[in-house]
Symmetry: C2
Subunit: 453 residues, 2 copies
Amino acid sequence: MTERTKFILDESQIPAQWYNVIPDLPAPPPPPLHPGTLQPVGPDDLAPLFPMELIGQEVTADPYVDIPGEVIDVYKLWRPTPLFRARRLEKLLNTPARIYYKYEGVSPAGSHKPNTAVPQAYYNSVEGTKRLTTETGAGQWGSALAFATAQYGLDCEIWMVRASYDQKPYRRTMMQTWGATVHPSPSRATQAGLSVLAADPDSPGSLGIAISEAVEAAAGSAETRYALGSVLNHVLMHQTVIGQEAVAQFGMAGETGPDLIVGCTGGGSNFAGLFFPFLREKLAGRINPVIRAVEPSACPSFTRGIYAYDFGDTAGFTPLLKMHTLGHQFIPDPVHAGGLRYHGMSPLLSHMYELGLFEAVAKPQRECFAAAITFARAEGIIPAPEPSHAIAAVVEEAKRCAESGEEKVILTALCGHGHFDMVAYERYLSGEMTDFDLPQERIDAALANLPAV
Amino acid sequence: MTERTKFILDESQIPAQWYNVIPDLPAPPPPPLHPGTLQPVGPDDLAPLFPMELIGQEVTADPYVDIPGEVIDVYKLWRPTPLFRARRLEKLLNTPARIYYKYEGVSPAGSHKPNTAVPQAYYNSVEGTKRLTTETGAGQWGSALAFATAQYGLDCEIWMVRASYDQKPYRRTMMQTWGATVHPSPSRATQAGLSVLAADPDSPGSLGIAISEAVEAAAGSAETRYALGSVLNHVLMHQTVIGQEAVAQFGMAGETGPDLIVGCTGGGSNFAGLFFPFLREKLAGRINPVIRAVEPSACPSFTRGIYAYDFGDTAGFTPLLKMHTLGHQFIPDPVHAGGLRYHGMSPLLSHMYELGLFEAVAKPQRECFAAAITFARAEGIIPAPEPSHAIAAVVEEAKRCAESGEEKVILTALCGHGHFDMVAYERYLSGEMTDFDLPQERIDAALANLPAV
């Protein structure tokens, strides 16, 4: 009865600042480039889409940025989030490893996404934005933004990939419950949508098309701006509330620090949010963890992509970003971890990977679901498909420790619950889930179409 | 920034005992009767279905019962649960009332049900049970028991009403993820199911049929027992962890006590769990709250039922229970709050209602969903349809306070989230949800078939 299961901070211990890792790096990441001029993108280029405060945060050299009180007031609805010691999983795996997980599924939207949706909605409201637009695939990000905009009285308009809109109506209803307008994409509300529908009235849509529609809707109206849920520097910075809390909770647990930090990566924000504050400790020489990204083997931008300038979207409307990419025309196979199906990677994380600050592995989805079910039966929480990738890597490491006898301290982020992903579990449990081969020719073909820089 | 949103206890403050309200009442509730002999049911009658410890708890005169350490170890996966001050809802309603809600949706199964599923599974495991059976409608209780049995290595076999099994597959998959076997009911696995299928091969099933199947499967095997998720005294007692924590959290909040306690009632366990510990304070003269049950107007056992001996199930297999009932053959209209669609009411709560210890009101479902959406947009959490009944009564009272200027302190239980109920929200938002009239003749017809006692 003396063994603790979770480490809970008081809401007065919600971090007062976000941590900006860039000043602690030996060199800053290469800037985004305008695709026409190939010159670095400036604030004026971004002003139609983002509020000035976020444009400033994107390039700030300050090591910390204050979190506004009005943002903390909303964070208090679910933050601080718990850090759990996975004692029951350890016992099940018969491992001497000590496994900790930081659980972000307690947010209203059920993932880490509100950590950035809330400040993005807040800064927009302060700067006079009346309406935010965005795109969403399966709906994690869209629901986070719908929740956040409701908190500040902004309208929210979301383009949801048609296939998900029709087949996964529950997150759509969640967004509508919070007051958002949800369009199937391609829609008749934008020129981009209309032109796709003219060519193919039955188009199932894609994230690339949905981005185009959301950006067009924002650019065309002075009171409307656009919000992005991952990839950008300010988004990763907002997520550092996760790691800052976890550093404090590690102290409560009496641990010096983790020996291994594991996170799943799609655009990279959840992984970055967890490990940046620990990396700060590592760069200061206080701890020395191995840091490991886990990506789906169906979309392996770190492990099989190249580091090059590429577009952030399929259609090629965004600035050019220097990043690990499979090519902006790469279409990942339909794995259930929709949040990890992105051809590129955060430019900041890509730069740090090149600097050797962390390593990366790729996992096929059936191994991930097997690990997620083991986790659910031991710890009770049913993970979303995305963090099941991190859990698979944790289980692998814990089994290695069971063989070697190493008492390794492992930390991971359980970035969301799987309540809206039960179809994926059903497919796994019924034996209908498949893994996908990714022949090198498919990657090569997509990489052949990189923009010339 | 000095205003607190939530009150969090440390896991060392999980209650060490459950509170038994019965010794504090002026008289105990009338006993259940054997339907053949009309004599009180004894331990021997119940032993094939329940472990001896739970049979003892059902009739104990002890004011407190120790919670085993092995149960607290599992409670630690989500308990203590947070008490929230609903500041953003108060602001939206412009009310001087102070609204608090105790949130049980943080449990792995997403409701208060695991508070009793866990000890039921534990005592069964200690007494040698290898397999537990139960019935479930929409799946809240079934998923709680599936989670709990996984924690103690028991098999779990669940009969799920066929209509829900086919139309609401997500909670079914959740149960299977935790390792349970789920049968559509009526099934070919029991005589009860076979005889229903012989008469109607396409039967959509009912909770009454599912109970019959689960009881038959338990009674027929020495290593198999049965678990019930509400109604019984020991179930209500297990839920008092909710109210005991809330009493401590009210102290943290600097409140003397609530002026009004509101809870939704189906079988009654969530409401009882919240208010019993506060009633104890009230009976000792320390606080004086009004206590109010809220039931669906489509199934109004308190407000339009009678207090009489009746069967607990539709088919008439259970002991006779003295309770508020609409008649065991009453079939409620298909409101979305499936957990409140029960013809009867906990005998203990029915007895206490007769003693005048609390009041009751009934709400139509559209008013409840309107209140739930107001709540979701303010507080972020999307409530399950069941607690939306309590929220509707809270909103009503808060608006009353806005008119009168009364600074009333209101406490309610948000007993679960609505992540598996988005179809209901979709129907409300699209204008397709209806309320149901309940003509007196329908109640009279069902009450005409009460057993003769």
